[in-house]
């Protein structure tokens, strides 16, 4: 680690907008404003009703993190195989009284596929991003991106749409063909930034003491290695030398965060590899990440904040037994850990049963009675099997939404919030207007 004076110098240099390369980095948000003035695009602004919290990025620029009226940009990998990730996030929103929309009118960013098979191109990726941005805009809810890769991709696509007039015009034409327009969000916001912004409210609701827990953090590559100037840093977290999320929430909750030598390595997901060359993903995850976390840091849990990272680090471990590596280190998303500390049901909400490495020991260390929770969950499964209606975190979608991305009362384009759109009231699962 650098000493305090060296850290200060690095931070000063950063405010001059320079990366190690010495190249000036321009703030894409300033150019967005100019393009909006010229009528080339619209900006989806963060407004007071989004209850923003101010944070700082790599160069010390301000970044507004909206904490209310959010449009969930779900992650296909999370929803597909680690569903406790989104359900924990929505549960924390209910607990803290935040409004949101969780709709079927969203596609993934499609960047997993692009990074895995290259069967797409930047214009298509930009159009997919812009279609989702426009949908969020027309519902008057600010997009909150669940996945690290979607976050990285959307940062790249926003930059591309601002800097490349040809791509911008093409995408606008495609969008207009479907009655949409080019709207770029004022900030691209990753859910872990929301978790960090909500730290005071989360800590105020903490029900379990996590001070005995040693956590190691895996920083998702696409959070900070793609368009690095958009990632959030804080001098109080690693002296501002590594991103502030997801470590910040662990420190706020009182967990012990331990360092390990390979923190900078990727997880081994590889996009293509996790599906068709898992021997690589497994070897990399076990040898380069899990082993140092266990042997160097004596971790009780690995915490990360991206779909691919949770999947790879968690699911690659079980087979390690074949090589005498029975680490079985639990791997959770920051928001699952926060939800558990706040008293979320480990199975019904945190959905820990989809994880390959058992979390029982960790739950015990947190003081959570997982045995009764598990029995309760088994009973719940039986009831579901017999036709009982499932418990939901918010009101289910209307039947018409199976087909149409319906207008929910919003006026386009949204200038001022003269008409409130339908939102989910936290806790009671009813739709309010």
């Amino acid at each position: 680690m650098l000493n305090a004076a060296e850290i200060k110098k690095v931070l000063e240099e950063r405010t001059q907008r320079q990366r190690g390369t010495g190249k000036k980095v321009t703030d894409v948000r300033e150019e967005m404003l100019r393009l909006e003035e010229k009528g080339e695009l619209l900006i989806h602004r963060i407004r007071p009703e989004n209850r923003p919290v101010q944070m700082q990025t790599l160069f010390g620029w301000n970044k507004k993190i909206p904490t209310d009226r959010l449009w969930h940009h779900k992650s296909c990998g999370q929803c597909g195989n680690i569903p406790g990730y989104p359900s924990s996030l929505l549960w924390v929103m209910n607990q803290t009284g935040r409004r949101y929309l969780n709709e079927p009118h969203q596609t993934s960013c499609t960047a997993w596929n692009y990074h895995g098979t290259a069967t797409s191109n930047p214009v298509a990726l930009a159009a997919v991003a812009a279609r989702n941005f426009h949908r969020a805009y027309e519902t008057d809810h600010f997009p909150l991106v669940h996945c690290g890769t979607s976050f990285g991709d959307y940062k790249e696509m926003r930059k591309l749409l601002v800097e490349n007039a040809e791509v911008r015009h093409k995408v606008r034409e495609v969008l207009r063909g479907m009655g949409r327009d080019l709207v770029l969000p004022e900030e691209i916001v990753h859910y872990s930034e929301w978790v960090q912004a909500m730290a005071p409210e989360i800590v105020a609701r903490r029900r379990f003491d996590v001070s005995a827990v040693v956590a190691t953090v895996h920083e998702p590559c696409h959070y900070y290695k793609m368009v690095p100037e958009d990632a959030v840093y804080d001098e109080a977290v690693y002296g501002g030398q590594r991103p502030a999320v997801p470590t910040g929430i662990l420190l706020s909750l009182g967990a012990r965060v331990a360092d390990y030598s390979t923190w900078y390595d990727c997880c081994g997901f590889g996009f293509r590899h996790i599906l068709s060359e898992r021997e690589f993903s497994r070897s990399f995850a076990n040898l380069r990440k899990i082993r140092p976390m266990v042997e160097e840091a004596h971790a009780d849990v690995a915490i990360t904040s991206d779909t691919g990272c949770v999947t790879t680090l968690d699911k690659s471990q079980w087979i390690g037994k074949a090589h005498g590596q029975s680490y079985l280190l639990p791997v959770l998303a920051d928001v699952q850990f926060a939800a558990l500390a706040m008293g979320a049901h480990p199975y019904k909400i945190a959905q820990v049963h989809w994880h390959a490495s058992p979390v029982d020991h960790l739950l015990e260390k947190m003081g959570i009675d997982w045995r009764s929770a598990k029995n309760e969950f088994m009973e719940y499964l039986k009831a579901l099997k017999n036709g009982t209606a499932p418990e939901l975190l918010h009101a289910p979608r209307a039947e018409i939404e199976q087909y149409f991305a319906i207008n929910k009362g919003q006026v386009l384009p949204v200038e001022e919030p003269s008409v409130a759109s339908a939102s989910v009231s936290p806790g009671n699962g009813r739709v309010s207007s």
Binding site: E103, A118, R272
Partner: protein, 278 residues
């Protein structure tokens, strides 16, 4: 007596016909290329250098190897980002052709190299440009590499999510162990019931990551049609592409029927829902 005299002697025993063939590997380690491949490699080389991203991504190289030091793929494969950047910057048509056969697919797209490169090269990006090229031209090696992706491509193109719960089958993901796949052997209920136990209604499906509305999937497909993705896929797998077109045609029909059914509700609505015709 010299040492050389003791070395085993191997006589040349090729038939005349065999001897007339060029060696299978040239001394540079390059593959033997047919005249057709040689022609194609030249086309690929030209297209690669004409890509507008080329000059943005390839800025210069010190050969310092900083990129390779942090590269996960370099630890396990005969691959290095330094070499890829060198091929992009100074390679000829044959070196590019060689890289397109296999090496480009080793990269994890983690962007570690980009972050470390003092030149500011976009190495992960230039590898993607190479991959796109190999997909567009349907190279045989690329078809083989991407053969296992038919199912996820179908999902991606028709509903825009990459995985579904029913793809995570215990027999295919055996290495993930018994817990990660929602297998009924562990919990005693079907995967459908396991998905019902997720408290988010749009996730209670096994066929996609979440339920995607018909309008959304049609809008997505229109993007693919209008931005050349569908044509690109045709070059790689024409049968799969035709199947996708059929699936979408069915969804369009479903959309038209729904427009009739919900006509009264839709009349009052503004925005894309009112204007989008499928």
């Amino acid at each position: 007596m010299s040492v050389v005299a003791h070395l085993p002697h191997r006589s040349l025993s090729l038939t005349e016909e065999e001897a007339a063939q060029p060696p299978s590997m040239e001394l540079t380690g390059r593959r033997r290329m047919s005249p057709a491949d040689r022609g194609l490699s030249q086309t690929l080389y030209e297209e690669f250098h004409q890509d507008p991203r080329y000059h943005e991504y390839v800025l210069g190289c010190l050969n310092c190897g900083e990129c390779t030091t942090g590269c996960p793929a370099a630890r396990f494969y005969d691959f290095s980002p330094r070499e890829m950047l060198q091929i992009a910057a100074t390679g000829d048509a044959t070196t590019l052709w060689d890289a397109l056969q296999e090496k480009i697919w080793s990269c994890c797209q983690c962007y570690t190299c980009n972050m470390r490169c003092r030149f500011g090269n976009d190495i992960a990006g230039i590898i993607s440009v190479m991959r796109e090229l190999s997909v567009r031209h349907g190279l045989e090696a690329t078809r083989k590499t991407l053969a296992p992706f038919g199912r996820s491509l179908t999902l991606l193109m028709t509903v825009g999510t990459q995985v579904s719960a029913d793809m995570i089958q215990p027999d295919f993901f055996r290495d993930w162990g018994p817990f990660a796949t929602g297998s009924d052997q562990v919990w005693g209920v079907s995967p459908e019931v396991m998905r019902k136990a997720i408290p988010l209604d749009v996730l209670q499906t096994t066929r996609s990551s979440w339920e995607v509305s018909v309008q959304t999937s049609l809008e997505l497909f229109r993007i693919y049609e209008e931005t050349g993705v569908l044509d690109m896929l045709r070059g790689l797998d024409p049968d799969l592409t035709e199947m996708l077109v059929d699936i979408i045609e069915e969804r369009r029909e479903e959309f038209r029927e729904a427009r009739e059914k919900y006509r009264d509700e839709l009349i009052t609505m503004k925005g894309p829902v009112a204007s989008f015709e499928g």
